[in-house]
Symmetry: D2
Subunit: 285 residues, 4 copies
């Protein structure tokens, strides 16, 4: 049986890394490299690599690979992870009352653009329920008040654990996550912010952009970290605006950007094409 896997590596740069890793894959698994990308950060002396490979070797699975690769990884001081394609990731989408990103993700998932299991849609509003039901995704209505906030968060953590969620997508989810929640999911929460970060952080970025009179508006998808709007940027895009565009026009044009940057981020994450370091991302094409 042929196995496909993605190996992600980051480590201090040194001579012979590519050769050592390529040799390992050939020697141990008679691997057929489908894609290999490297990136060096010269200033920080770091090396990044993504290898997508195929193998017919019988022991090319999680336990086998970990046992075989560990000595080399120790010797070369590698941070690494491997994912076998057989295992489909499980995704939860959190959403509030703006549904355009959710509707977009659901349709893309149905079309096959987002290869994953959509295990859960969580919302503090009921308005997303019909879409969830139409696409057949379990829906959890968890209203939030200042009083219930902590309890709801615990409920969310339980839901995520029970469903073995790999990735949380905040599709215009308007509640602020607690540090505890964020730290429990490092590089596992993707948010869309409706501005060209770092411009217009915080609330009401389209209002701020309109007031400043910018000639382009943007949207940004990023991993969520403890500091609001400060996590590693995954993707950004912009579109032109003019004096003809009043605030509702900015919001409408911005929705298109939000859909694009969020769906790209999710697709790349699912394909293990993102590495993060120094609060930045490397996107392997």
């Amino acid at each position: 049986m042929t196995t496909t896997a993605v190996l992600l590596i980051d480590c201090p740069d040194r001579k012979g890394l590519v050769a050592a890793i390529a040799n390992f894959l050939v020697r141990e698994y008679d691997a057929n490299v489908l894609n290999a990308d490297q990136h060096q950060d010269a200033a920080l002396g770091l090396f990044f690599m993504r290898v997508e490979f195929q193998s017919d070797a019988p022991h090319c699975d999680g336990p086998g690979f970990h046992a075989a690769f560990a000595p080399l990884a120790v010797q070369l001081n590698l941070n690494w992870s491997i994912t076998f394609a057989a295992r489909e990731q499980k995704v939860a989408i959190f959403v509030s009352h703006y549904l355009h990103c959710l509707a977009d993700l659901l349709h893309r998932h149905q079309t096959g653009e987002l290869p994953c299991t959509l295990a859960l849609i969580v919302s503090n509003h009921e308005s997303a329920r019909p879409l969830a039901e139409f696409y057949g995704i379990p829906f959890q209505f968890t209203p939030v008040t200042p009083v219930t906030k902590e309890a709801v968060e615990q409920q969310h953590l339980d839901l995520l654990a029970d469903n073995e969620i790999d990735l949380i997508v905040l599709a215009r989810y308007m509640q602020i996550l607690s540090p505890r929640f964020v730290e429990a999911h490092p590089l596992r929460i993707i948010n869309v912010h409706h501005s060209f970060l770092p411009a217009f952080t915080g609330a009401k970025p389209y209002h701020a952009a309109f007031a400043r009179g910018v000639k382009l508006i943007g949207a940004t998808s990023h991993y969520v970290t403890a500091e609001l709007d400060e996590g590693p940027i995954i993707e950004q895009d912009v579109t032109r605006v003019s004096q003809s565009d009043q605030l509702p026009d900015l919001i409408q044009k911005g929705r298109d950007l939000e859909r694009l940057v969020l769906s790209r981020a999710v697709r790349w994450h699912l394909a293990h094409r993102i590495l993060s370091y120094a609060n930045k991302t490397v996107i392997f094409s």
Copy 2:
């Protein structure tokens, strides 16, 4: 003789403005409207208009127009200006040691893209002299030290006055202008900032963009006001960057953006296509 003129108007919005102004031009000058653009700011209740027209009427000149139009302008509470095409504007370019915007503006001027008289190039470095001489533009070397700063500024003011300069273009001029200097030239100084404002104000924006890990870098041309990097934005553009782009790549890509946004701003200003209000700009196409 046929005269071409541009009439710019801003005023509180009210009924009948277009009709009143169009009627005046027809009745008084038998005008042929070449272009007419309006813009309303509904939130602020303001009206903006640009009319480019031709007339064969003998009294269609500065004094004649002012005398004829003043009563209507008072009645309708108009801010307005008129420019007759016969008069070519005089421009001064200020530059330091990065010459890419200067070289670009000089070539565009030679090609006919920037219809104006380039009356003066001012620099605190000698490096721009050869380009100035090649294109036959008077060059003023005015080195600046903390001690001479004030005297040099007076020298600049004298140069601008002596040359009857209409527009000052800061083509990567690395000296901060004094409030006195700026206030003496309201909406008459155009600067290029090498970031997508309001992101990365201040010094070394490419370094800041690199550190933040943005996926697009930008440049902004704007009118200079007393607050640094806070004046009305005229034009912005962006280009995509990736992990392959190290800091020198950002700087190199950014130069292309700077050339584009600065030259567009200058061209639009020279064509009287920019109106500014509420720290924004209206760009008439």
Copy 3:
């Protein structure tokens, strides 16, 4: 009661047009001009105007306006049309088995981006039915075979007539319309073609783009005329591709472009912001 209307005009250019039309609106209807845009084609000597205005006059309705405006229109040789906002346009969407544009239009309609009545979804496949039902739009399944083609077209014409359809949107409808059908709906059928026209006309444009090795792919929305892919272009957009993008990637990226250019075209058409002449379009902002 306040009435809002859009007046569209095209005519041979001549002096005094703006004044004459503005005067009429003020004199006859005490109109408040919300937006006015003009465009001249100097080469062809043509004048185009769009005026959006409000009036409290009681006779500001279809019959009243026609009676009042006709003499001026004859005198100035105007082609013109007027639309009163009260009347909502009726739209039919034709679709085959690719549903991304349909899903996008339905969601935008629900969000309020496309102010119209979606009266009908017509398809030669059953696959669009669930989406149509979810959004509550009548669905007509009209399978086409070479034998039934003519009869089906008659069925379509009847459906359009019975539903008083104003605009037909071809959202990746893969059947070629007959000249009779097209000529019955001049400037009333909008199609999306999945290339940057006039590059890659005809079938399988993504395959052709991939084979040619272009660095950007595009999509185009246009009015349908008798000549395939040759109608007036309404909107185009492009996105970058690289050697990493194989044919399925082009198709996936292209879907995003198709959604954008088609939905913009529909929105502009519904707002009476498009004028067409000389097989081109003028888009009023």
Copy 4:
């Protein structure tokens, strides 16, 4: 002494290529890989690789490398080339009377963006001479008439040979090159075409774009092959136009695109970042 080199490879895809090549570089030269990029064309079964590496080994030079690498290359069926950074490429620019691309390339070269020796500027007009002289580049005026065309071409071939030219850049050179000339310089002539190829091939593309009413105009840089405008595309870019843009505006906006796509193509070629196959290009970032 440290040597930097770029190794470019294309070959039938097979297992173990990356490992074999990486091993060779480590074993033979104790190489430090600065950048490594691979690309596979799954449909055609081809593999492409670019490796930029440093070595302190004394025999890391042209003859040494050829002797050492040849056996592996034969065994793996590789097409390959190696370039040592020490050797600066020699470039000739051909230009007619539009000088914007030339002026741009000259300024970029002076700035250090184009690391090469500009050995020669060739023109059928005298108008480029002042720019050539200002930047200190030898200028050859070779006027062309139908009668002299063949003799001039021979003169060009002699000039290119005498100057050992590596790359010919057609910076809006308006003469058609003979098949003999083109075939003598495979993948060694870069042209800029002022349209978004394959749209608007041939003469006067801006006129054609204006007539067709496109909403974006483009420019394309490509390698020149025997078939006009059909060579492998290196880079393309576009910009938005509207009804406000008359033909001269298209031409003016297009100049900016031409500058960008031509200068990027030259920079990438000089950095050995372009591989060509199947009439396409792979651009290594």
